[in-house]
Amino acid sequence: MASIATPVRAVSTIGDAAQRTSTRMWPLYAVLCSSTCIVVGLLWDISWHETVGRDTFWTLPHLLEQFGAVLAGVSCGWLVLQTTFRGTAESRAESVRFWGFLGPLGAWVTIWGTFVMITSAPFDNWWHNAYGLDVQIVSPPHMVLALGMVAIQIGALLFALGGQNRATDAHEMRRLGWAYTAAAGVLITMIATLISEYASRANEMHSALFYQVAGGALTLFVVAVSRAGRLRFSATGAAAVYMGIMLLMMWTLQLFPAVPKLAPIYREITHMVPPSFPLLLVFPALAVDLLVRWNAGRHDWLMSVALGVAFVLVLVACQWYFADFLLSPGARNYVFAGDQWAYMVRPGPFQHRFWNLARDATGHPSFPLFLRGLGIAVMIGAASARVGLWVGNGMSRVMR
C-alpha cells in the first residue's frame, strides 16, 4: 500500500522513447494550457465581479475560461479520434478503452470535464433567472462548473502522470515530472480558490474554521501530489506554482484601471480588485514532502496522522503572524495588496479585525477554545491526508 510504483518498462511494441514522447507532448501541453487558462480566467472573473460587477456571457474572463474548456475538449477529442482510427500501435497500447474508443485516461477525464462545464452553462443561466444572480462562489451551478474545471485539471494531471510513470529516461522523467508538478499546482490553485470564501482572507486566519477548511481541502491534494510525484519535492513545487499564479494574478490585475458598473457602490475603486495574498503553502507542502520521503515505507494510517498534524501546525505557524502583518498598514501596498475589498462591501472596522474568533461565554476571545477548534482541524487534516495517500498511491500506478 505504501510503496511507490516503480517505473514499468514498456512492452516490446514500444519503440524509440524520444519519438514516442514527442508524439505525446502536444496534448499534454494543450491540456496544461487549457487548465491554466481556466484557473486564470476564474481568478480574473472573481476580480471582475468584485470590481466591475456587470456580467455577461462575453466578458473577457468568461471568454478565457471558455477558450480553456474548448481547447481541452477539442484537443482531447482529436487525440481520441486519432488514436482510435489512425493510431499507432504505441499510442493504442498506451490508451484505455471507453465505449469503443481509445485514448489516454487523462483525455477521457478532460473530455468529461468539458461536458460538465458545457452542462453547467444552461443550468447556471436558469439559476440566475430563477433565484437571482448568485454572487457567492459556493452555489449548486457554480459547483457543477467547478467540477468540470477540476476534472479538466485532473485530466491534465493524469496526462502528465501517465508520461511520468512510464518514463525511463532521466531527462524525460524530469521533464514530465515538472509538467506533473505544474498541473498539480494549477489544480491546487483551483481548490484554494473554491475554498477562498472561508480560507483566503487574513481576517479569517485566527479562526479555527480557516484551518479546518484549509486542512480538509488542501491536505488531500498536497499529500496525493507528494506521494505520486517523481521529483524530490513535488508538493513543494506544486505549492510554489500555486503561489506563483496567485502572486502574478495579484500583481497584474491591480495594474489595470477599472470602475464598478453596478450600483450600489460603497467604495471608490479605480483598478481591478486583486485576489488576496496567497496562503504560504510552500511551507506545509515542504513538511509533507519531507515526511512522505522520510516515511515512505511506514504504515499509511500512522503516516496520515503525522501528515495531518504537520500540515495544519505548519500552516498555523506560517499564517498566524503573517495575518497580523497582512491586516496592518504595512501590507496596504502593491506588493501585499492588503485591505482590498469589492465595490459592494460597505467600509467598516471589520476590515481590520479578525473574524469568527472562538469566544467564551462572556464574549471574549478564548485561546483554549481556539485550540479545541485547531484539534478538530488536525483531525480533519489527518483524515484528508489519509484519503490523499490513498489517492496518491492510485495516481502513482497510472500508466496510460
Binding site: 512492452v11 511494441t13 460587477g53 484505455v96 460538465v116 433567472n129 450600483a263 500506478r397 496510460r400
Partner: protein, 512 residues
C-alpha cells in the same frame, strides 16, 4: 394636475412607485425637464436581476436618453448612467437594461438631453423577489439527458481507469482486474449517486429558503364592527415583522431588517379598496384612520352584502409601497354615515355598456372610455383614456381628488392582479414626496414622514383647481384575462365612480 404638482414644489423630481398585486412594472408619464416622457420600468422577478427601462420621448427629437439605478436613499455611489439604445421601429423610444442588485426601494433616474436642454425624472421602483421561474420542460429534458450521460460517463471512466489505466502499455487486463473494475464501477455508482443526492438536497434547501423569502405583504386581520355607531371595517396588521418593529433585539434574533415608518399617501395613511367577489359587482375606496399604524379603522360606505376582497395600500418612508390583502364577509350597508370621510366612495352596479363604453355617473354626467376596436393585448401599452362630459354633453371639468385628476383601479376577475393608477402612472404620491425630500438633500431627510404630512396639509388647503375632464393612465395589463377598471373623479364635491370591463388578449410570442 401637473400644475398642482409644480405648486407643491416636487416637479423638479417627478417620481413613480409601485408595489401592487400581480403587476410589478412601473409606469410614469409626465415631464422630465422640458420633455414629455413615458417611462416603463419592467422589473425582474428576482433580485439581483435585470430591469428593462423603456423611455418614450413624446413630441421631441432628442440627442440622448440615459438611465441609472441606485438604492432609495442614495447612500451609495452609482456607475455612469447607461445610454439608451433606440428601439427599432419605435421612433422616440429608447431601451436600457440595468441590473438591480439591492432588494427593497430603489430609484431609476432617466435623463434626457436634446435641443431644449436637459431634463430628468426619478422613478422609484420596489425591487422584490416575487416568483420562482419554473424550469422549462425542454431545458429540464436537456439537463436530465446531459446529467445521465455524465453520470454514466464518470462511472465508466472509473471502471476503465482500474481495468486498463494502471496496466503497462499493451497489457490486457486479466479476469481479476476486470472484476476489480466492475467493483470500482459499482462503488463509484454508489458514490456519485450519493453526490447527486446530496446536491439535490442542497438545491431543495436553496429552493425552500428562496420560496420562504419571496416577498409577501404583511399579514392582516379584518373584522366588521358596528357597536354603537355606523358599521366600520377594522384592518389590523398582525405580522410580527411590523408589530415588533421597535424591538431591535427581537428583529435581530429573527433576522428581520427593520421597516421604515409609514408615511401618508395623498394625505391618507392607507387607501383601502373593497371589491365584491365573485363578479366584481361592487367596489369601495375608503381611507381608514389609525393611531399606531397597526390598527386601522374606516366607516363603511353603502355596499351590498357579500364577500369582499380587501386591498390596503400603504407606503413606507423608504418609498416602499405595498398592498395588504385580505377578505371579509359584510352585511348590506344601505346608508352613508354622517361621519364618512368625504373622499370615501363606493359603487355598485354593472360595468359600462360594452358597445358604447360609456357610463353615466350619478350626477348625470357621462364617462367614456375612448378606445377603438383594437384588442387590448397583455404586456402592451393599453389606451386607458377617459373623457368626462356633463349632463348636457359638454366637456366637463373635474376637481382634484386626493391631489390627482383621477384615480383608476384595475383588477383581474380572479383577484390575482390589482393595481391603483393615477394619470402620472403607477404612482404613490407618498413615495414621490419622500424621494423629493431626499433629493433636496436637506435636513428634512431625517423627518420625511412629518414633511410629507405637512405637504399633504398644505395641498388640502389649496383652492380647488379646475381640471379638464380628459384623463388617461399609462399602463399595460400584465396578463391575459377579464379585467374590470374603476375610474374615480371628483365633481360637485363628491367622488363619482364608473366601471368598465376589459378583455385582454394574450401576447403573441413575436409581439415583443
Amino acid at each position: 394636475m401637473k400644475g398642482g404638482l409644480r405648486a407643491l414644489g416636487i416637479a423638479a423630481v417627478v417620481l413613480v412607485c409601485s408595489a401592487h398585486i400581480g403587476s410589478p412594472d412601473s409606469w410614469y408619464e409626465g415631464s422630465a425637464g422640458p420633455y414629455h416622457v413615458v417611462v416603463n420600468v419592467q422589473m425582474p422577478s428576482v433580485i439581483p436581476g435585470i430591469a428593462t427601462i423603456y423611455t418614450r420621448v413624446v413630441g421631441d427629437t432628442v440627442h440622448q436618453v440615459t438611465s441609472m439605478i441606485n438604492v432609495y436613499d442614495a447612500s451609495a455611489g452609482t456607475p455612469p448612467p447607461d445610454v439608451g439604445a433606440p428601439v427599432p421601429g419605435a421612433p422616440g423610444q429608447y431601451q436600457t437594461r440595468l441590473w438591480i442588485m439591492a432588494p427593497g426601494s430603489n430609484s431609476v433616474t432617466v435623463r434626457v438631453r436634446g435641443a431644449r436642454g436637459e431634463g430628468s425624472v426619478i422613478v422609484p421602483v420596489t425591487a422584490v423577489a416575487n416568483s420562482r421561474l419554473p424550469m422549462q420542460k425542454p431545458l429540464g429534458i436537456l439537463l436530465a439527458v446531459l446529467g445521465l450521460f455524465l453520470f454514466v460517463g464518470i462511472v465508466s471512466i472509473a471502471g476503465a481507469a482500474v481495468r486498463e489505466g494502471v496496466l503497462p502499455p499493451g497489457a490486457a487486463p486479466d479476469g481479476r482486474r476486470v472484476w476489480r473494475a466492475r467493483a470500482t464501477m459499482l462503488a463509484s455508482l454508489v458514490f456519485f449517486t450519493l453526490v447527486v443526492g446530496g446536491g439535490k438536497i442542497w438545491w431543495d434547501g436553496v429552493d425552500r429558503d428562496f420560496r420562504t423569502s419571496l416577498y409577501r405583504p404583511f399579514a392582516i386581520a379584518l373584522s366588521e364592527e358596528n357597536e354603537g355607531g355606523p358599521p366600520r371595517i377594522r384592518l389590523r396588521i398582525v405580522d410580527s415583522a411590523w408589530t415588533m418593529r421597535h424591538d431591535s433585539a427581537w428583529l435581530g434574533r429573527a433576522h428581520i431588517a427593520a421597516w421604515s415608518p409609514l408615511i401618508t399617501d395623498h394625505g391618507r395613511m392607507m387607501h383601502l379598496f373593497l371589491v365584491k367577489m365573485p363578479g366584481m359587482a361592487a367596489f369601495a375606496h375608503v381611507h381608514p384612520a389609525t393611531k399606531d399604524t397597526v390598527d386601522f379603522m374606516a366607516t363603511l360606505p353603502p355596499l351590498p352584502a357579500g364577500h369582499y376582497r380587501v386591498f390596503g395600500d400603504i407606503v413606507h418612508e423608504s418609498g416602499f409601497a405595498k398592498t395588504l390583502v385580505g377578505g371579509i364577509d359584510l352585511p348590506a350597508i344601505t346608508t352613508r354615515a354622517a361621519a364618512q370621510d368625504s373622499d370615501d366612495a363606493s359603487f355598485a352596479g354593472p360595468a359600462a355598456d360594452a358597445s358604447s363604453m360609456s357610463a353615466r355617473l350619478d350626477d348625470g354626467s357621462t364617462m367614456t372610455w375612448q378606445r377603438d376596436a383594437t384588442p387590448i393585448v397583455a404586456a402592451m401599452p393599453a389606451s386607458l383614456h377617459f373623457v368626462i362630459r356633463d349632463a348636457q354633453g359638454a366637456p366637463a371639468t373635474l376637481e382634484p381628488y386626493l391631489g390627482m385628476a383621477a384615480h383608476a383601479v384595475v383588477m383581474r376577475d380572479d383577484g390575482t392582479v390589482f393595481i391603483h393608477l393615477h394619470p402620472s402612472g403607477t404612482a404613490s404620491l407618498g413615495a414621490q414626496q419622500a424621494f423629493a425630500f431626499r433629493q433636496r438633500g436637506d435636513t428634512n431627510a431625517v423627518s420625511i414622514g412629518k414633511s410629507v404630512a405637512r405637504e399633504d396639509s398644505a395641498m388640502a388647503r389649496m383652492p380647488a383647481a379646475s381640471i379638464p375632464g380628459d384623463v388617461s393612465f399609462p399602463y399595460a395589463f400584465p396578463r391575459a384575462g377579464n379585467y374590470r377598471v374603476w375610474v374615480q373623479v371628483k365633481r360637485g364635491g363628491a367622488v363619482r365612480t364608473a366601471a368598465f370591463d376589459a378583455v385582454v388578449q394574450p401576447m403573441a410570442a413575436s409581439a415583443r
